[in-house]
């Protein structure tokens, strides 16, 4: 039996016979999924409130990776200072973009919105080349997380372990913000009836700006966290934005919990898929998307009418 499996997929045979290897694949899935969750959560949040699908989310991620390189590697600041700087830098960029450009297109048709965010992708992509050139940078791991941690059955890179922890922490923080704070409730109300909210004296445009800043800062922060293994380079945003779209569509656009589950599923499918069938890692992600879309076109945790105006 095992020989048959080995014939079909050597990777699958190792997974079945070597628990340690399987466990490492599981942790790889979670850490990748959590890194993606941090970024995709921003995309989903922005869509949930502003109803704009921001194609520029990927270049925000790329800028995050470049900024941490500059602050941490070039200027010698601690890694975490660099990661926070990435989040802040993208927050500032987002504030400017929202106030000057996005504000014009909330009422516009989807095609206009799509064109505008795509224009931002092109402009910021070129801007990145002007600032950072076209070479690929390498970003070190933060000193305190360079080694591996003993988990009993196996050692595992401490940095990736940190990703497995920070993802759920960000989920909890976002959930707490949405459900337990007055700002979160106002944001929820803004998705339901922004005109009524305005009539109650609440500055809805300010909520929009804040949400866009928060969502974009998550892209910047996620880009910084990915930098040690993604090695900032032009074009890195293209794969990432596709991954994010798969995740938020699988999870259900605008659903925080759905994005979390979608990111985990993506990590699992991607990692186990590439072990079982090394030539087809991308296929598995699209297969996941296809299956979910066939069963639940609005995503695992989305609402059927979400996405329409």
């Amino acid at each position: 039996m095992l020989d048959l499996i080995r014939e079909f997929s050597p990777g699958l045979a190792i997974l079945l016979t070597n628990p340690q290897f399987a466990f490492i694949q599981l942790l790889n899935s979670i850490s990748q999924g959590m890194n993606l969750f941090i970024i995709a959560a921003g995309l989903s949040l922005i869509f949930g409130v502003l109803k704009v699908i921001n194609f520029a989310h990927g270049v925000f991620y790329m800028f995050g990776a470049y900024v941490v390189h500059t602050v941490f590697m070039d200027w010698g600041a601690p890694f975490w200072v660099g990661a926070i700087a990435s989040a802040l830098a993208l927050g500032v960029i987002a504030a400017i973009i929202e106030r000057t450009l996005f504000r014009q297109i909330y009422e516009a048709e989807h095609l206009m919105q799509l064109l505008l965010t795509f224009a931002i992708v092109l402009i910021m992509g070129d801007l990145a080349k002007v600032i950072w050139g076209t070479e690929q940078y390498s970003v070190s791991y933060p000193a305190s997380l360079k080694g591996a941690t003993d988990l009993g059955i196996t050692f595992y890179p401490s940095y990736r372990l940190m990703l497995c922890i920070i993802g759920p922490l960000i989920l909890i923080a976002l959930y707490w913000f949405a459900e337990r704070t007055r700002w979160g409730r106002m944001t929820k109300a803004a998705t339901q009836d922004r005109e009524m909210l305005a009539a109650l004296g609440i500055n809805v445009p300010l909520i929009y700006t804040s949400v866009f800043i928060l969502g974009s800062a998550l892209a910047g922060f996620g880009g910084a966290l990915a930098a040690p293994f993604s090695s900032p380079v032009p074009g890195m945003d293209a794969t990432l934005i596709v991954e994010c779209f798969v995740i938020v569509i699988v999870g259900g656009l605008g659903s925080l919990w759905g994005t979390f589950v979608g990111a985990l599923l993506y990590g699992l499918v991607f990692n186990f898929g590439s072990v079982i069938y090394p030539n087809g890692q991308d296929v598995f992600a699209y297969l996941l998307l296809l299956v979910v879309l066939l069963i639940r076109p609005w995503g695992l945790y989305g609402k059927p009418e979400a996405g329409g105006h």
Partner: protein, 235 residues
């Protein structure tokens, strides 16, 4: 000086003009009713005052300050509350959360509205603070939407068809609650089609037709003149 002066406002939705020069004054502490059949422009008049649909011409002054052209949230902050016809409770927020997001401090020298005071006026709401807005009955929604506006401590309340779609018993409740609001010193503009409701509460009445004021007078004058009711109100 009247608290609110609406002077010759014209308002359109896109290309279709709906208001053709509405003028009205509202004194502090009064209940002024806008009366007329469906589609005459009562709601649009309120939306124009509130800044939700901006008048293309004319002026709206609140406590002497020009407010036409301000954003709705700015107008709200100046002290005008809007209770829409469709109630527009936030369905995914609980009763208490609906109240809480509208909370704003009272102007100096006025007794502030908070949950406690709102629950005193609408005891039904006190029983269900954790219920989602989306599952309330029509009467509960109407009370919550008024209560929600009160949390912002307005000095002028725009109350759009509060009796619509409610059982007669509930209509009476709402009517008495509006009366109590007037007695607390709140100025109210009331859009209504329920004649009993109008006559019970109104100091002044403006009858609208096709976006114009066709008749103005006191509540007592309207009561005395059956022909006006026949001409403008009965279908």
């Amino acid at each position: 000086m009247p608290q609110l002066e609406v002077n010759d406002i014209h308002t359109s939705y896109g290309l279709s003009q709906v208001l053709f020069g509405i003028t009205l004054d509202v004194e502090e502490g009064e209940i002024v009713s806008l009366v007329g059949r469906n589609g005459v422009g009562k709601t649009t008049t309120m939306r124009s005052i509130m800044g939700l649909t901006k008048p293309s011409q004319g002026s709206v002054k609140f406590e002497g300050k020009e407010i036409a052209g301000l954003a709705a949230h700015q107008i709200s902050k100046l002290g005008i509350g809007f209770v829409p016809e469709e109630r527009r409770i936030f369905p995914d927020l609980t009763v208490w959360e609906n109240l809480d997001i509208a909370r704003r401090p009272a102007p100096a020298g006025r007794e502030a509205w908070d949950e406690e005071r709102v629950y005193t006026l609408f005891p039904d709401l006190k029983e269900i603070p954790d219920r989602p807005g989306g599952v309330l009955s029509g009467g509960q929604q109407q009370m919550l939407t008024i209560a929600r506006s009160l949390m912002g401590n307005p000095r002028l309340l725009l109350l759009d068809e509060p009796s619509e779609g409610l059982a007669p018993k509930v209509v009476e409740n709402v009517r008495d609650q509006v009366k109590l609001l007037k007695e607390s010193g709140l100025t109210i503009i009331l859009a209504e089609q329920n004649l009993g409701f109008i006559l019970y509460l109104s100091d002044k009445v403006h009858i609208l037709e096709k976006g114009e004021v066709k008749w103005s007078g006191t509540g007592a004058a309207l009561k005395a003149d059956k022909s006006i009711v026949e001409q403008y109100l009965t279908v």
